[in-house]
Structures are given as structure tokens and as C-alpha cells.
Amino acid sequence: MAIAYDNSNTITGGGAATVTIPAFAVAGANRLLFVTVGSSAGGGAVLTTSVVRDSGGLNESCTEVWDLTNGDTFHSSGHLFVAPATGSYAILITLSAAQDEIGACATSWTAAHQSVPIGTPVTGSSNGGSANPTLTVSDAADDDVVIDGVHVYDATIAAGADQTQRANLVIDAAVTHGCSTQLGSIAGDVMSWTGGSTPSWAAGAVAIKPAAEEVPYIGYGTPRDHSGCKPWSSIWRPARA
């Protein structure tokens, strides 16, 4: 079964060190939660300290996938939680200091691999250079879904042609947080955003891996996987004479 988008929610904010993404329902089999965070500040960008779903309750603490700054004022991070509980819960994002602009997008997915959920993350940044955000996720397989998060010093950005935009959050008129996904079958596995007229940005991307296909047993003989089954001898014993 292919990885499928389930649900999402977003947040923008400023002058804060923590923000809470409102609760949204998560459901389905082989669930995965992915959160992208971006921030920026005049005093310098900081890193993400923690991302926790249902803080104080379930305390589902997400694993950091990437977390970088552009060496100046822009920051991007990505976070993952495998098998989040079904139901609606908010997500608390904590940064290491207050930031001028904060944007975040949480997406939930089904049919994701539960033990090897992602490939190798790719990151990039620019500090006043000339290039728009562009990342190549070279280990993406055809059945994967590639997800990215960007935090850009520009109020008008657009995801690449083959990407599905999950968030395009204009914060404080001059800074945008974006999140998009793309099928791993798209040639090149390039995640890009255009429109950065002042291209200071930080970004990351990674491939989400699909759950293993269940191979149905067809035919005669011994099923391929009989782990967990009791041997016949432990179930049936001939009556004693």
C-alpha cells in the first residue's frame, strides 16, 4: 500500500519561544507524524529544542531529522514521530530562544514504514546568496514520499512544479515558512521553491519510506512466515495408551 496523506495543521507566530500547533485528528494504519519548523530573528536564529505531541499527556516526543541555521538569522528543522496515537492532540514546539518569526506545519501519514521510516536527510541554506532553495534527495525510491521544509526571507514563494504544497505561511509580511511533498517516482527527486528575491533561507528534506508490502500466502505447503505459531506437537498429542 502506498504512503497516503492523512491530515495536517499549521501555525504562525512571533515574539515567542514556544508555539502550539492546534490539535488535529490522526488515524489509519502504519501512522507517521512529520513536523517542519522554521524561525528567524534579528538576534540570530536558534535551533529547535523539542517537538512534543500532547505535552503533559501522551508526551509523544518527536525525533529530530534535521536542524540547521543559515549562519545568520534563518533556521529550519524537521521532526518525526512513528506510530502516533490515534485521536486529536496539539503539538508543542520549543525553540532555544524567542524568535521574530515562527512557522510550522505538521502532517500525518499512513502506510509508512514503522521501523525504518525515513531515508537520509538533506539540508541546505543560503545567507544572502543568489540561489533559491533547492535540495536533491538522492536516496528516494519510487514508492517513497519526499517531504521538505523551508524558511525563506521572502513573502512570495512557490513550490516546484511536481510538489504538493502542504503549507505556504507568510509570517510578518517578509518571511515565509513552506512545506511540500513529492512522490519519489518523480525523476531527479529535486525539492525546490522559487520566488526568493532576497535568498536567505534554511531548508531540509527527507524521503518517507512505505510500509513493507504484505505478501499474501497462496498455495499449498508451509507458509513462509510461521514465527509465532506453535508447533503441532505442542498442540496435539496422541492419547497415551
Binding site: 504562525t12 507566530g13 515574539g15 508555539v19 492546534p22 490539535a23 528567524s40 492532540y89 520549543t94 521574530d100
Partner: protein, 124 residues
């Protein structure tokens, strides 16, 4: 647009204080919470060392059940922006769930002293 709370002056000692619930007008889709910060022009607001954690909850059934909604946490004192100006307010914004009979309520948890500020809840 509707201002459910419009620059309400607040004076919250260390501890928690609830605001609302307030009814969200039908058809509006976005909510923003704002809290005025200390600046050089407003030196009596939100002192350094005072931290606030503002949480909100949204109800879709007139207040019977509540979902945790948007929020922010921030330290006090003057916060300088990239352009060199003071940050005027701490804020957070997100979409509202669709529906009727919607209500919203807030809780501000203050540590480190008394929070003196102005609170705004805006829905559009």
C-alpha cells in the same frame, strides 16, 4: 473580523488566569492571539524575567468538549527585531475548525513575577 478581546489590560500575578469562554462568530476561519510586549515606548509592560505561557482551547459543541488549540510561550523584556525595532507584541495565529457553536477560551500561566500587558483575541 471580530475582536473577541480587544487590547484588554491584564495584570496577572504569578500563577494562572482564565479568559473566556467567548463565542466565535460563524463563518470566520482564522484566530490570532496577541499580547503586548515591553518596548522603549511602553516601559511598564511585561518586565524581563516574567514568562507567560498562553494556551487556548476550541469547542465545536458550544463548550461541552474542548480541543487544545493554538498558543505561545515567551519571556518578557524588550525583544529587538531584525530591522532594529522593538517587537511590539508576541502573537500566534492559526486556522479555526469549521463548524457552528464554536467557542474559545484561554489560560495564561505566568512565572517570575506579575504580568502587565494587553491581550487581544482576533478572529477573521
Amino acid at each position: 473580523m471580530a475582536l473577541l478581546i480587544d487590547h484588554q489590560s491584564i495584570n496577572v500575578p504569578a500563577g494562572s488566569r482564565d479568559f473566556g469562554p467567548a463565542t466565535i462568530p460563524d463563518g470566520l476561519t482564522k484566530v490570532t492571539l496577541r499580547m503586548a510586549r515591553r518596548t522603549t515606548a511602553t516601559p511598564t509592560l511585561w518586565a524581563a524575567g516574567v514568562t507567560v505561557d498562553l494556551k487556548s482551547w476550541c469547542s465545536l459543541d458550544g463548550g461541552v468538549t474542548w480541543l487544545q488549540w493554538l498558543g505561545f510561550g515567551a519571556p518578557g523584556g524588550i525583544l529587538i527585531k531584525r530591522d532594529g525595532t522593538d517587537t511590539v507584541e508576541s502573537w500566534v495565529s492559526s486556522a479555526l475548525p469549521a463548524g457552528t457553536s464554536r467557542r474559545i477560551k484561554l489560560t495564561a500561566t505566568v512565572t517570575g513575577g506579575t504580568l502587565v500587558s494587553q491581550l487581544t483575541v482576533e478572529v477573521v
